[in-house]
C-alpha cells in the first residue's frame, strides 16, 4: 500500500499551488500523482471498471471543489481517499442495493491492466495473476467485508479509525479483520 505519510513531490507541488491560490494547478498535480490509486479505489469499491472510472472523475471533481477548504491536517492521499469513499458511497447509495458486481467489468480491468515499465514480463504476468485472483476472491465477499478490506489496504486506516467509522470496538474490528482476511485468503487459495 502506498505510504500515505511520505510527502511526494506532487504533494509539495499541490501544496505550493494551493498556497498560491491556484486551485487548478493543485488539482493538476494531484491528478498526476494520485489518479491511479483513486481510480483503483473506485474500481474496487464499485466493482466495475467503467463505473469506477466514472466515479473517479466525480471524485476529482469533488476534490477540486473541496481543495480551497483543505485543512492540511492529513496527507493529501488520506484526504482524497476519504472524498473518494464518500463519492463512491453516494453512488452506491443510489444503486448499491440493486447493482451487483459485473464480472465483465473486472475482466475488462484485468485485460486493460497496464504493466509497470520497470517490471519484467515475469513480474507483470505474476502480478496480473495475483490481481486476478484477488478480484475474483473479492467478488465473493459480502459488501461489508470488502469495505473493511478496502479501508485497511487501500485507505491504510488504523484500527482506531476503522472502529470509529464502523461504530464498533477496536477488538471487534480487529477480530473481524482477521476473519475477513482469512476468508479472502481461503478464497484466493
Amino acid at each position: 500500500m502506498a505510504n500515505q505519510k511520505a510527502i511526494q513531490p506532487w504533494d509539495e507541488k499541490a501544496l505550493a499551488a494551493l498556497n498560491a491560490g491556484q486551485i487548478d494547478s493543485a488539482l493538476d498535480a494531484l491528478v498526476q500523482g494520485y489518479q491511479k490509486i483513486v481510480l483503483a479505489y473506485c474500481i474496487a469499491t464499485m466493482g466495475d471498471y467503467a463505473l469506477g472510472e466514472e466515479v473517479a472523475l466525480e471524485v476529482f471533481d469533488a476534490i477540486w471543489r473541496a481543495l480551497p477548504g483543505f485543512k492540511r491536517e492529513s496527507s493529501f492521499l488520506t484526504w482524497m481517499l476519504a472524498i473518494a469513499r464518500n463519492t463512491c458511497m453516494k453512488r452506491m447509495g443510489i444503486i448499491g442495493r440493486l447493482r451487483r458486481i459485473f464480472v465483465y467489468g473486472i475482466d475488462k480491468t484485468l485485460v486493460e491492466a497496464q504493466p509497470d515499465p520497470s517490471d519484467s514480463l515475469e513480474e507483470v504476468v505474476i502480478k496480473q495473476q495475483q490481481v486476478e485472483r484477488l478480484l475474483r476472491a473479492l467478488e465473493k465477499l459480502p459488501r461489508k467485508d470488502r469495505d473493511l478490506l478496502i479501508m485497511l489496504y487501500f485507505e491504510g486506516l488504523s484500527l482506531e479509525a476503522i472502529a470509529k467509522r464502523r461504530s464498533q470496538g477496536r477488538e471487534t474490528v480487529r477480530q473481524e479483520l482477521l476473519k475477513v482476511q482469512q476468508k479472502l485468503k481461503q478464497i484466493i487459495d
Binding site: Q35, S74, V111, Q114, L121, V125, L134, F154
Partner: protein, 796 residues
Amino acid sequence: MEHNSLDQYEVPRDPELAEAFEAFIQQTHVPLDFHARVMARVQQRQTRGGLLGWWPKVWAWRMPLLVCGATVGVLLALTLHMWMPAIKGNNLEHSKGGTQVKEQLAVIPRPFGAVLEFLEPLKKQAEDRGIDLVTRLNKEGNIPDYYDKESLVIMGKTPAQFDGYVYVDYYSTDGMVGHLLPNEMERTNRLGSNGSLAVGQPNGPQPLFISAQPPGLELITVIASKTPLFSGLRNHEPAESYLNELRQALSKEGVQPNVTATFHFIRTNGKTSTPYQVVSGDTGDAPAGLTHQPPLPIVAVSPPPGGRQEEEPAQTPPVVASARSLPSHTILPTAFDLPSSAQLPAFTPSRLAETGPAPPMARRTALVIGNAAYAVGPLQNAGKDATDIAAMLRRLGFEVTLLRDVPLPEMEEAVKAFNIRLHQGGMGLFYFAGHGVQVDGENYLLPINARIARQQDVRYQALPMGRVLGAMEEAGNGLNILILDACRNTPFSRSWRSSQAGLAPPPTTARGMLIAYATAPGGRAADGTGGENGVYTKYLLQAMTVPGLSIEQVFKQVRYRVVAETRWKQTPWESSSLLGDFAFMPAQADIVPAGAPPYPSASSDPETVLWSMSERSSHPEDVLAFLQAYPESRFAPAARLRLQQLQQQSATASNVPSAPQPGPVTPSRAAGFSPSPAPSAPPQPSLERAVPSNVASGNAPREEIGRNNPMDRPSSPPSSEGYTLIRRIYCEDTESGVVKGSKDLIFTSFLSCEEAKKTLLVLEQQKGNCSFIDKGRESRQKANIWIGTPSCKIPS
C-alpha cells in the same frame, strides 16, 4: 476527518494480501485521456459556476420542489442505469470526434481487420454505383450487444435490378468463419431484385440464437454478387483460407462491379441483458421468453418475392441448417489468447516429393503401434493414424516397425526389439495410437485383446508406458521421442469410479526425452471421423513435413491447430527434457555434416548451446531470444548480424511474387514458411508484426519493426472502427515450447491513426523485459506482437 495514527501497526495486515492489493493499484490502467478529462470537467464546471450562483438564495423555498425533482431524477437514473451497458456500448464506442473514447471497446481482432480491408472498399464502390446492400440486425446500434441465448436476425433487401447470390458469413473471434447462407442444408441463396433476406427470424421455423461464451466481438458480412462466387457449399472453416478464396473469387474479371457488400459487428455477451445480476447462485437464466435452451442455431431464408429459386422448387419449405454449419461460440478464452490461424505460419505442402529421400542424418529408429479394432470401444482412425505416421516416418529417414491391432505379448516383444535396435545409436521414436488409461498415476497402453472389467486388470492386461520409456532411456541415446495419441475416450472408464480421465503426466526423470500427448493430462483426444486421421495426427503429419521446423515447433504448431479446431476441448501437451535440437525434416541449412555431433553435448555451456541452436535456426525469433538471454555474449555481434539477415530474408520473402523465383534459397524459404498468402492469392496484408523487445544492441527495435512491417503503406481513410493496437507478450519455454505466460496487455482503440502512433511511441518505452520464468529453466520472450488495422501505418 480520519487520520492514520501510530496504532495502525496494530492492524493485522496480511503481507500477501497487502502485496496483492498493491499489485492491483499498480496494474490499474489509467486511460490516456483521464487527466485531460478531469481538467476538462473542472473547466466546464468553472464556466457553469456563475450561472449556478443564485442557487443558495432560492434553496429554502424551492426545497420541496427540488426533493420531488431529485426523486424523479433518482428514478430516472435507476432506469438509465438498467440500460447502462447497452448505452455505453453504443455511445462511447462511436463518439467519433469527441474525447470520450474508451479503450478496448472497438477491438478488431483478426480476421476482422482483414475482412474489412477488402470489404469496405467494395461496400463504398457499391454505394457509389447505387447498388448498396441494405441490411440490418434485430438490434439497434453500431455494435449491438447480444446476450446469451438471444435471437439474432439478419434482415435485408437486395438492390433494385440486382438479381444475385447472397452470402452471409459469420466471423467469430476464434478466427473461424461460419456460413449462414448458403450452407450444406440451405442451398438457396439466390435473391431477385429487391429480394428480402431474413436469416434467423425467431418466429420463423428456424431461429438463430446467440450462445455467446465467452463474450466477444464478432462480425457478420453480407455479400451479394450477380454471379456465384463459389461453385460448391462451404463448411465452417478458418477465416484465413476462406478469405483467400473469397479474394480470388472477387478478383475475377467482371465480378467486382457486380458485387455489393455490407457488414455488421456485434458483441456477444455471456450474461443476460438484465443488469440485475445475482452473483451468488447465478443461474444465467435467459430473459423472459427464453427460459429453455433455445433450439439449435438454424437459418431460414425466405424465398424472394418474385425472385427465382435455384435448384429448389418454389414450394420447398425453408431448409434447416444444422448447428454444425454455424460457428460455435464456445470459443477460446479471449480473442487473443490463441493466435488465429492467420498468425500461424502456414503448413506448406510437403517438399518430400521434390527433395527426394531425406538427406543422410543420424540413425532414426521408430516403433509405431496402432490399435483400433478393440472388442470394446473400437476406434475408427487409430489404425490409419499409425499407418500414415509410419509411412511419413519412413519418408523422413526412420527405420520403422509398424504394428497394427496387436495383443499385449506382441506389444511387449516389439518394445524389447525396439530397445535392441536403439542400442545401435541414433534417436528413437515411439508412437502409439489407441486407447490409453491411467491408473494410480501410471499410464497404460491398451492392447487389442484387453479384457478389463476392473481397474486392477489394467496392470496385467496393458502395457505400462513406463516400460516403453525405460526401453528408450536404457539405450542411452541422447534423443527419444514418445508420442501418445492415446487418450481417446476409453470405454472402460465408466465402470471405474476411482480412475481419472485421460492420461497422467509423465515421470519427470526421463532424460533426453520428449513426450507428446494428443491431449493434456486428464483430457481426452478426439478420434476423428471415419476415413480420416484423428485431429492430432492429422496436424502432426502436416507439421512433420515442414522443413527446418524444430521438434518443439512441430508440436507447438500442432497444439495451436488442434486447439483451434477442437476449441480447447483437446489441448496437445508435451513434456521435454531435450537438450539438443531436432527437426523431422531438416532445412538444407540445418543438415548436420557427417561426423559432426548431432546434438550439442550436455557439457557445453548454455550460452554456446543456445547460440549453436540459434545460429542454425532460420527463425529470427530464435536469434532474438539468444540476444535477449545473452546481450553481452561474445556471439552477440554475430547474432545481430544473423538477425538482420533473417529479417531481410523474411522481408524479401514477404515480397516474393506469385511464382517461385530462382536464386539462392534463403533459410526462411528453405524452411517452407510463407509469410505472404498462397501464391495464387492476391496480396494479403498480414496483420501482425513481431517487435523485438529487448535487444540490447545498436539495433533500434523500431527500425527493425519498420523494415518488415506489412503495415508500411500509404494510409487509407480510417475504417469505421478506428484503429486498434493490441500488445501481446508471451513467454515461452525454450525447451518445451510451452507458453508459460501470456497476456494481452493493452487494447486501445483510436479515432485517428495519429493517436495510435502517439500511444504506440509511449508504449514502446514500456517494452517488457522478459527475463526467465523459472530461475533454473530458460524461457524467452517470444515476441511482442502489435496488431493493428493494416491501413494504419505504424511509425518506423
